[in-house]
């Protein structure tokens, strides 16, 4: 990292970074190292003694059907949310980029769900699909489809996916639109002169040029689905019914605060940590590559 023209005070820089560094140490690095430490410890039933158990906690959770179920649920949930949120946002962004009149109005009307808390988004959709009073649930019943996400795990999954997607579309829309507007008009015009029609231009010119944005958003969406959707799950399904929507983040919370399984929760934390770290590495390596273009 480049050191630029600067100052050579001896004490001042330490005072300046102190607040950030102290908070980081106390609330980030220390707890994270505690999680690492506890993940290789086990407490006796009375909480009196702990002993070193190596990777036993990890082995235990990886054999636990509940955890494997949670992994499976998380995969289904994340893939569905990322695919839906990216696809719909791309469709809307391409449309908004095409229209001449009203583009700004559409933009304003599409971006605000970003501001809605995930938990609140969950409440909105839960109300729509409430089996006894929800408008959509009623409409579905009228069409002969019996909706009750409190009993049906697949329906519960669909509901949280919808709520999570609804909230994320605006974020993806903003980035796709910015990406589309960054494509030089001359390129599109050159393709048009070369005889490529609208569809062909989209598939051969626009989409490839948009792929860095899409890849970046894919990573962000996966991170979102993994970590930022806790509020949706907690407020809509609490992981149920029968653990059908128990994603990893919800399980780590539940095991720590409701089931009080210290070592297991710590091991789960460490696995989650590994997931975030690899996602961050992917993201940064990719960002670096983007800089070199």
């Amino acid at each position: 990292m480049r050191v630029r023209v600067g100052y050579s005070n001896k004490v001042l820089p330490y005072i300046l970074v102190a607040p950030q560094v102290i908070i980081t140490l106390v609330f980030f690095i220390w707890p994270a190292s505690q999680a690492l430490y506890q993940s290789v410890q086990r407490q006796d039933p009375f909480g009196l003694r702990t002993r070193f158990v190596g990777l036993d906690n990890f082995a235990a959770i990886l054999e636990d059907p509940g955890y494997l179920n949670s992994l499976y649920v998380t995969a289904i949930f994340s893939i569905s949310v990322a695919a839906l949120a990216l696809g719909l946002a791309l469709l809307l962004a391409v449309s908004a980029d095409r229209v001449i009149r009203g583009a700004t109005a559409y933009k304003t009307l599409l971006i605000w769900p970003y501001a809605v808390a995930p938990a609140v988004a969950g409440v909105l959709w839960m109300f729509l699909f409430n089996p006894t009073i929800g408008s959509v649930a009623f409409a579905l019943k009228a069409l002969g489809y019996d909706w009750n996400h409190l009993l049906d795990g697949n329906q519960a999954m669909l509901l949280v996916v919808l709520a999570a997607t609804w909230k994320q579309i605006s974020y993806n829309f903003i980035f796709f639109l910015a990406g589309l507007q960054a494509i030089p008009k001359s390129l599109i015009e050159a393709a048009a002169i070369d005889g490529a029609g609208r569809n062909r231009r989209f598939w051969t010119i626009i989409l490839p040029l948009l792929s860095p944005t899409a890849f970046f958003l894919l990573v962000v969406n996966v991170v979102y689905a993994f970590f930022d959707t806790f509020g949706i799950i907690h407020s809509v399904t609490s992981g149920g019914p029968a653990r059908a929507t128990e994603i990893l983040v919800y399980k780590v919370y539940y095991d720590a605060f409701e089931a009080l399984d210290l070592g297991g929760s710590a091991a789960q934390s460490v696995i989650l940590m590994a997931i975030v770290i690899s996602l961050t590495v992917v993201q940064f390596r990719y960002v670096e590559r983007r800089v070199h273009y």
Partner: protein, 281 residues
């Protein structure tokens, strides 16, 4: 532009209008429910025409809360506002300071601190949930605003954003200020801060929403109802059990929970988009 007109146009508009309606529909239904009586809400199918009990429901929510919960939403709004403001301004202040130190000073532990801040990116609350709770509890910060806000104030994203921005400021400006006789803090106050105004505004929008929408953290840290933020408050109201839920009041509370952050995004749209796009670079 080529082929902007023509037969695809109405289809494009149709897609957009459908998108806008889908995005808006849940909110509209919520709004309608917040203007009805409980009986009207429970009378399936619920009407989609706003009723006449809007003011009444919002007043009930704001000043008395639901019967089961009995915590006025006005207090929750205030808690959310305090939390969002403290987190947003706290993050901005400490990130400005540390970015300033990392960019403009040479000191032995500079890179160590830089990486330490970077690592926080990889440690969201969810991956260190129990030990962090324990730290806050050991520091006796449970059920307090410091406990609710301070642990969330560290920010790698904001630090990197300001660092990035400071790097674009020409070296000559620092040198000119040195020759003009300004020391580091004076340069920070008179030159860096005013130049960072748009970045601060952009980041503030993003961070305000981040703070307002916190869920897991307040869920862990607060048990006292007087500390409830509005997002947590809704959850408590819904925990009453299906037959006991006072939907109109809950829906009014839901609307109240959305209005401030949505307003911030819509009013400060320009900064919001800039902040969002910049902070991901």
């Amino acid at each position: 532009m080529i082929e902007k007109k023509g037969m695809g146009t109405w289809l494009t508009h149709a897609v957009l209008i459908l998108g806008v309606l889908t995005v808006a529909f849940p909110i509209y239904v919520t709004f309608v429910a917040s203007s009805l009586t409980l009986r009207e809400v429970l009378d399936a199918p619920m009407t989609l025409i706003p009723g006449s009990h809007l003011v009444e429901n919002y007043r009930t929510a704001l000043f008395s809360g639901t019967r089961m919960n009995a915590t006025p939403v006005a207090g929750m709004l205030l808690n959310s506002l305090i939390m969002a403001l403290v987190i947003a301004s706290g993050k901005i202040v400490i990130s400005l300071l540390s970015a300033f130190a990392v960019v403009y000073f040479r000191f032995p532990l500079r890179m160590v601190f830089f990486w330490m801040i970077f690592i926080t990116l990889m440690l969201p609350v969810e991956v260190r949930i129990l030990p962090t709770f324990k730290v806050v509890s050991d520091l006796e910060m449970l059920n307090s605003f410091p406990g609710l806000t301070i642990p969330l104030i560290a920010s790698a994203t904001a630090t990197f954003l300001f660092r990035q921005f400071f790097m674009t400021i020409p070296d000559e400006l620092v040198e000119a200020s040195k020759i003009d006789g300004a020391g580091p803090m004076r340069f920070f106050r008179d030159v860096l801060l005013p130049l960072s105004r748009t970045n601060i505004a952009a980041l503030f929008v993003i961070l305000f929403i981040y703070g307002w929408n916190q869920y897991l953290w307040p869920l862990l840290i607060t048990t006292d109802h007087r500390m409830d933020t509005i997002v947590i408050g809704i959850r408590r109201m819904l925990a009453a059990g299906d037959d006991q839920i006072e939907w109109p009041v809950v829906m009014a509370t839901t609307m109240l929970a959305m209005i401030p952050p949505v307003l911030v995004v819509v009013v400060m749209q320009r900064w919001f988009v800039k902040g969002l796009v910049d902070s991901e670079k």
